[in-house]
């Protein structure tokens, strides 16, 4: 089987199979995983931050970490959630380095323009515009809860924060997000 045929076979294979091949050291299989998951992971990280280049950089670090730790992954079917946890942890490490988690409120001047990720739908544009107005921890919890469909307990496990903290971040962040979206539409 030549390289092109191998790539075609991989692109049609189930993700669990590709994960198993990649865990066994198959570089083509790992590249296929990156190809499949990159858009989703980069979109998630771009929502968490205000800097598209930084989001892509952390996404790249997450994939490298995944390549290094893939043999330790117990269940190939859990790859997506595991990759998301790696990315969230890298994101939190970045925030801790910059002490952004300690900030009580985002300074007015630090609110960046919405990233050029979204093409045109007004709802998406509004969402990205107002997401950056939330505190980093609230933004993380709101995105993981509403965009990724994670439960509060899953978010607590993934971030290492107490369940009560996660619940209050989700509640406060969601309320603020709705208010801000309402203002945008007024």
């Amino acid at each position: 089987m030549n390289r092109a045929q191998a790539r075609t076979a991989l692109s049609s294979a189930a993700e669990a199979v590709v994960v198993q091949l990649a865990a066994g050291g198959d570089d083509e299989a790992f590249t296929e995983l990156v190809r499949r998951r990159q858009a989703w992971l980069r979109a998630l990280l771009r929502r968490l931050g205000r800097d598209a280049a930084l989001a892509d950089d952390i996404a790249q670090q997450a994939f490298i970490a995944a390549w290094q730790k893939l043999p330790q992954l117990q269940s190939p079917a859990a790859f997506a959630g595991w990759l998301r946890s790696l990315a969230v942890n890298l994101w939190l490490q970045h925030l801790r380095k910059r002490r952004e988690l300690l900030l009580a409120d985002m300074p007015e001047g630090s609110v960046a323009a919405p990233m050029a990720v979204v093409t045109d739908p007004s709802v998406s544009l509004d969402l990205d515009r107002v997401l950056v107005l939330l505190k980093p921890a609230e933004r993380l919890c709101v995105v993981l809860c509403h965009a990724e469909g994670m439960s509060h307990a899953e978010i607590a496990t993934s971030t290492g924060w107490p369940l009560g903290t996660v619940k209050s971040h989700v509640t406060r962040g969601s309320t603020r997000l709705r208010e801000l979206l309402g203002e945008e539409h007024r």
């Binding site: 190809r35 739908p121 309320t175 709705r178």
Partner: protein, 124 residues
């Protein structure tokens, strides 16, 4: 917080399009993986070399400490009584090793690093 308002937020997130797939990003990750693989191999080679050098150094350091008579199994045997020599001869090489612990140590000093090298090479 009502479930309906939660649904509104979920819909808002669901309507947002994904980031466009980017082959440059895929290629960039592949390059980084290659760099990490090379770095890991270099680390294994460095560890292997360090292990071999440490093993040889230890052997060189220990060699002068061995009593000269006992360093040769045959000479060591000559110091033993006849019944002991017979018993040791009967036990073969295991007996020789018991009679000359320095030989055992020397073998261990060579075998342990070699086993380490083999293990590291298998892992890389």
């Amino acid at each position: 917080m009502s479930e309906a308002s939660d649904d509104t937020l979920r819909r808002a997130f669901a309507q947002a399009p994904l980031v466009a797939a980017d082959e440059t990003f895929v290629a960039s990750v592949a390059v980084q993986v290659g760099v990490h693989r090379k770095r890991r191999r270099a680390l294994h080679v460095a560890r292997t070399l360090a292990l071999v050098v440490a093993g040889l150094g230890l052997a060189a350091w220990l060699a002068p400490l061995a009593p000269p008579v006992q360093r040769l199994p045959g000479a060591g045997m000559a110091l033993l009584d006849v019944p002991d020599r017979v018993a040791i001869a009967a036990q073969g090489s295991a007996g020789i090793l018991q009679a000359d612990p320095w030989l055992l140590l020397s073998i261990a000093v060579v075998v342990v690093p070699l086993a380490g090298v083999a293990w590291l090479l298998r892992r890389s």
